[in-house]
Amino acid sequence: MDDYFSQYGLVAIFVCLAIFVPMSMLILSRLLGLVRVRPSKFNDVKFEPYECGVQQIGKRWGQFNFRYYTFALLFVVLDVVTIFLFPWALKFNQLGLFGFIEMTIFMLILLLGYVYAWRKGALQWD
């Protein structure tokens, strides 16, 4: 148990370090801006969002054609399946025939839904 906590403690410290590395570079850049090594001049045209050099048309965050949400829905379904697959795979070598057949049936039910989604055109671009 001690082992467990010491390892996750190290990961927790590493998280802090991993956040510190990019933060320190951002702070360094900010400091260089303060001592005028790095320029910081405001210009209305320069701060315009880049759209190939012309002025931005329309309001910010305008509507757009979003074609990916069916993929996102399917992803959620199949990602949950991963949660079931990983423990099954880990214990596979201790399972008998029942474990194998059970997972096959589970995947077949899933495949049914997948084939249905494909036939309905959820994987098609339009």
């Binding site: 010491s6 390892q7 996750y8 190290l10 990961v11 410290i13 590493f14 998280v15 370090l17 991993a18 956040i19 590395v21 990019p22 570079m25 951002l26 360094l28 850049s29 900010r30 260089l32 801006g33 090594v37 790095r38 910081s40 001049k41 209305d44 701060f47 315009e48 969002p49 880049y50 759209e51 190939c52 910010r60 965050w61 757009f64 054609n65 979003f66 990916y68 993929f71 996102a72 399917l74 992803f75 199949l78 990602d79 991963t82 697959l85 990983f86 795979a89 880990l90 596979f92 070598n93 201790q94 025939l97 194998f100 997972m103 096959t104 995947m107 495949l111 994987l123 671009w125 339009d126």
Partner: protein
Amino acid sequence: MSGSFLESNVIFQEIYCVLAGSKYAGESCSAQGLLPVGYDWIGFFIAGFAIMFILANAFMLGAAVFVYSERRLLGKFQLRTGPNRVGPFGLLQPIADILKLLMKEDIVPNGADKPVHTLAPIVMLAPAILVTAVIPFGSGYFLTDLNVGLLYIVAVSGMITIAIFMAGWSCNNRYALFGSMRGVAQLISYELPMVFSMVGILILTGSLSLIDVVNAQDIPFILVQPMAFVIFLIGTSAELNRTPFDIVEAESEIIAGYHTEYSGIKFALFQAAEMGSILVSGAVVATLFLKGWEGPFLPGPIWFLIKVYGFVFLMIWVRATLPRLRVDQVMGFAWKFLLPLSLVNIFVTGASVFILGDMENGVRVLDSVDLLLVGAINLLSLIACLVLAGFFMKTKASGGRSREILVSEFDPAGREVLT
């Protein structure tokens, strides 16, 4: 603070031994200990921090080396010289780049969501560094040996999706938004086959710890799981937004994708995260499929580096060779080909292990011949799947239809312009 972790982790144990002494560091340690009794946790902290410091610096240095080697090698592939002015053979080019980017103005566009805009590079770089925590670089050279190592890698590298979306959304720029939408869609699509292809390895090893995965490889898993290797390689190069799948930042379509509005040090952080992740993915591939640090004659870490750079070279080679795919092709490839293929891989591996393995004391074991047979079955089913898919696509070829639809992503009138 003793146990299997401390005994297996060589560097950690050395430092901890010198600092805390034999009282805490176990029998193999003979040092007195620099710290007073009862302060062994400081030694633990410093020993851990030393390895973390090495890892974080190696990550950034590796990214710099990758930038140089990619530009140089791409130059060679395209029959030009590549960078050769800064330092000998242009070796100092990445340092010059980072200095230049430090001196550049940091522009946040009008109407942007400033906190998210600043946070995005941090969210991008931190997980990329964090993945190195569980990777074993040699026998006994690692930071931690989590018992959920593989799951940790999947979970942490999944954070990059959020960073890409944050970057694209915060900029108030249409192209950045398009890029991030594509990025999120592509990353989640290719994550599935990638994760499913790991399941075959889990069946063979029975452990999520990366050290156990390496130790279980009597035969490198590239020979036992060729189908999983192919899927994993394609999935990785899509997760990294590398060239056949770099629709996320396709410069001829959407300027630079999600980091269009980033300049100066924030841009450098995005680049460092991308370049470093390639090395980290190389390390994951080497650990999972190429037997990690093990090899004849040379010491472990050097073998590991050779394998990682073999992967990196392959990535650069692919970039120099293949053109970019279209959005619908990329998504279709993930969902209609790779995902079924990875499911077939799970089934074939499971079935062949089930049939070939012999039960001993309630656990199924396979010897080397069995493993090679599993590999042969795997390879044959990969070829069968490829032939089947080729036959299926030939009969259902849709001609140039998709291209018209793609143009309509930007402009509904594009359909008429094109035809």
